[in-house]
Amino acid sequence: MFNPEMIRLLAQGIWETLYMTIVSSLLAYVLGLPLGILLILTDKNGIRPMRLLNGALGFIVNFVRSVPFLILLIAVIPFTRFLVGTSVGSTATIVPLVLASAPFVARMVESSLKEVDRGVVEAAQSMGAGPWQIVTKVLLPEAKPSLILNAAIATTTILGYSAMSGFVGGGGLGTISINYGFYRYQSDVMLVTVLLLVVIVQVFQEIGWRIATRGDKRSR
């Protein structure tokens, strides 16, 4: 199997997988981070309790998260075509990946921010800090290690989703493993793609863990 053709294919697969995963993760955070912050601020014990908004956001997040990814992938095809012009290939796959992972990211952000001691927030309030200052100067910096660790988890989850999108021609290592390994019974190709995915996950996880612990001032 290690002919130049296959190696070129695998290299392209790695590139496409990284491209999909990283761009989707970034966009998922563009949507998910503010959503997570909004969830924590409007919580009934938050600094700006808003029952209705919090309930509505919570419902949307739960709703999207409970739709299986494969179904969401197919269901949003019209929307994907509208945005990207096609529904196959790695760029097109970014659309369902972002839609599926943004609510997940929002929950991750919410749980990281919840770890920040309520007392520290109270101390900031007692100094006259407003909501924006509390978010930018207290919640986000204090939760940074946890946010980074959770970002690594989110990224690896998105990587897993991207591989799943191989079933509908999403591109990347997932497509290779399905087209060659699954449909053509080339088990060696399947094995190699899976191993490559394992390595990528390990690398992402390790990088996230290192940045998180190195930046954490609580553990020194």
């Binding site: 900031a124 007692s126 100094m127 006259g128 800090a129 100067k137 001032k217 609580r218 020194r220």
Partner: protein, 346 residues
């Protein structure tokens, strides 16, 4: 007329006035009254203590003083302005003059000591360089300028509270609220933090409000005290007066946690101590009473001071308590005094 004037002058000196303050917490299942008609006035420059058992409403009361907790009814007037009438923006501005420190310190864990002290200045919009200078000055004041680069995780409890105090004072507040600020610290550290608060009060003239459940904190540095019980002020006045003559039950319980000590003396027998030239400059009997924590009754004494040396003897009635007696014997032996138990009736 003169009465009216003195009343007016008094008003001028009040930094915080609390009138008929009420706070109830309503949850789905029940309603809890935390404060029920509190009236207090705190004067400029004093150290005011608020003491009570847990659940008496102390923490809620102190949080109403900067409106971290919004009262259900009543008014809080800070420096002549009513907090309840302020817009959110005005309130945030006012809070820069009412600082607060906490039992759990509540420092930012991801910032070092210096930038923790810079934090309230950043909030107030002070330029970075200026803030840093001020922060250094504040760390100097609380005596830990050598720890400026240390993160809270590397500091001891006492050091963390010093950073918190420096942080609270950075914005030049008029009032410092201390919510059980020493309750997480050991007795020695507590003492050093209390001395620091006293120094700040004297040096900077900051009014200090101390919330505590420990009478020794009140005793150590407060000028006036309010005793909180069942959501109400049970007693309020000068610390010395309340210590000497507590009127309310709760005050008595706080001052004598184990009940007023009454010594029962032994019915038969007493102790004869002979002074045969030991130093008369040493108050032996007083020291014995203080060291052993036991009262004695002097039945007879005939001592003379000759050239700084004590001669004579003394008859003491001892408490009817074996441990106390043993301690007294041990103390007298350690002082090299001759003593003897007498069996005679007293």
């Amino acid at each position: 007329m003169s009465n009216f004037l003195s009343e007016g002058a008094k008003r001028m000196n009040e930094i915080i006035q609390i009138q008929n303050l009420k706070k109830t917490f309503v949850s789905d299942h029940n309603t809890v009254t935390a404060l029920d008609g509190i009236d207090l006035s705190i004067e400029k420059g004093e150290i005011f203590g608020i003491i009570g058992l847990s659940g008496a409403g102390k923490s809620t009361l102190v949080r109403c003083m900067n409106y971290l907790e919004k009262p259900t009814a009543g008014t809080v007037i800070f420096d002549g302005k009513e907090l309840g009438n302020m817009s959110e923006k005005e309130l945030r501005k006012a809070r820069q003059s009412i600082s607060m420190i906490f039992q759990g310190f509540h420092l930012l864990m991801q910032r070092d000591a210096l930038s923790n002290v810079c934090f309230p200045l950043e909030i107030a919009g002070v330029p970075k360089k200026e803030a840093k200078e001020k922060a250094k000055e504040m760390l100097e004041l609380v005596g830990i300028s050598d720890k400026a680069q240390a993160y809270p995780a590397q500091l001891s409890g006492g050091q963390k509270q010093r950073v918190a105090i420096a942080r609270a004072l950075a914005t030049n507040p008029q009032v410092l609220l201390c919510d059980e600020a020493t309750s997480a610290l050991d007795p020695t550290t507590t003492q050093s933090i209390l001395s620091l608060l006293q120094k700040i009060n004297q040096k900077l003239g900051v009014t200090i409000v101390i919330i505590t459940h420990e009478m020794r904190v009140i005793e150590a540095i407060c000028h006036r005290v309010a005793i909180l019980d069942n959501s109400c002020v049970a007693e309020c006045g000068m610390v010395e007066e309340i210590f000497v003559n507590p009127r309310s039950d709760i005050a008595k319980r706080l001052i004598y946690p184990h009940g007023r000590k009454k010594t029962v003396f032994q019915k038969r027998g007493c102790l004869r101590i002979v002074f045969d030239g030991s130093s008369s400059f040493e108050p032996v009997v007083s020291n014995m009473v203080l060291t052993c924590g036991a009262a004695v009754n002097i039945l007879f004494a005939d001592t003379k001071d000759i050239d700084g040396k004590a001669y004579g003897q003394m008859l003491l009635q001892l408490p009817d308590d074996e441990t106390a007696k043993r301690r007294i014997y041990a103390y007298l032996s350690s002082r090299n005094l001759y003593f003897k138990e007498e069996v005679a009736d007293v």
